[in-house]
């Protein structure tokens, strides 16, 4: 893989499950590789592996993270090369084991080895605040917290942000996922400003709720590979920001009805 690099280790976590950690990890990793970077994504959710199916690499797994930790294979052997992109690799989680099979120190050792060969090492954290989360955050240079604009997800995000700060891994940056402009418009969903007000951390990106995420997960092709996916564009923007590019936030707008427009005119002072 050529010259010695000094890669950046980024952990994606959330507290609450099901808010889009794995989707974000797959898409941001793929988007970084699309920009010509050497990227490895690590699934740290031991026992509940999923990053492999989201990336469409589930049929190529021979060795996993636990095999590496236990010395059953070399690190290289557990790295699955992506089908479509040069420079994108996956280290899958073990499916038949539990969190105790890997320690925080194991994660640090593995990531430090990878740092020499990759520009980015992205870690998909398990949900929760237990050992699996701690293992995922231990090697991180930066932590990304992802939430949806729902009370329960935001509350858990706040908890995890506090733990990240206590661990001296902060300040974390936030992705607000699955925004629905129509609901925000009618006052039935928190918008990005509300979430940022409450959590008081920096915003890394906003991702609209988008059916194309489900379709792309069905196919095992991350949405960033599709040019006309809105969510895919949002994740490409996030990857660009991680590369230091100055990309404005995606406008998440509702299709406005004529009644709303008249209403706005009438309310104008």
């Amino acid at each position: 893989m050529g010259d010695k690099m000094s890669g950046t280790i980024i952990t994606i976590t959330s507290g609450k499950g099901g808010v889009g950690k794995t989707t974000a990890t797959a898409n941001v990793s793929t988007a970084l590789a699309l920009q010509g970077k050497q990227v490895v994504a690590i699934d740290a959710d031991i026992g509940l592996r999923n990053l492999d199916v989201v990336m469409g690499l589930e049929n190529r797994i021979v060795y996993d993270l636990v095999h590496v930790v236990e010395g059953a294979c070399r690190l290289r052997q557990a790295m699955i090369k992506d089908k479509r992109l040069d420079g994108l690799y996956l280290i899958p989680a073990a499916q038949s084991r539990d969190k105790s099979a890997v320690s925080a120190q194991d994660m640090i050792t593995i990531c430090e080895q990878l740092r020499a060969d990759f520009d980015f090492i992205l870690i998909d954290s398990p949900a929760g605040i237990e050992q699996g989360f701690k293992n995922a955050v231990a090697p991180a240079d930066h932590v990304i917290v992802i939430t949806t604009p729902e009370v329960s997800a935001v509350r858990d995000a706040d908890r995890i942000i506090g733990l990240i700060e206590a661990d001296e891994k902060g300040p974390a940056r936030l992705i607000v996922n699955r925004l629905r402009p129509d609901m925000i418009e009618r006052g039935d969903m928190l918008d990005t400003t509300d979430v940022i007000d409450v959590l008081a951390i920096d915003l890394l990106g906003v991702v609209p709720d988008d059916e194309s995420i489900i379709v792309s997960t069905n196919r095992g092709v991350p949405a960033v590979m599709e040019n006309n996916s809105r969510a895919g564009q949002a994740f490409r923007n996030i990857a660009g920001r991680l590369l230091g590019q100055d990309i404005p936030l995606m406008e998440i707008e509702a299709p406005t009805s004529w009644l709303h427009r008249i209403g706005k005119l009438m309310r104008r002072p």
């Binding site: 009370v151 506090g162 006052g187 928190l190 509300d194 008081a200 009644l259 008249i262």
Partner: protein, 87 residues
Amino acid sequence: MNWLNALFGRQEPTSRDIAKNRLQLVLVQDRVNMSPQLVQTLKDELIAVISKYVEIDAENMEVTFTQSKRQSRLTADIPVIGARAER
């Protein structure tokens, strides 16, 4: 009556407003790890301690946790009526 709300501006707080409000309150408790009951106990003990030195208007005392960025701050606003007569 969504279209009426859209036309005239709605009066009721939206579920979005309610969500934000509830979150702000619950996060204050989460961050300092204190239940409303514990805050009441803190308030009672504050009254007891301060009353040893000055006469206060306990009825109108306010003890609140506020947030600036991710820093929690305990603010006590205690009206003083006068000095204790006997020391």
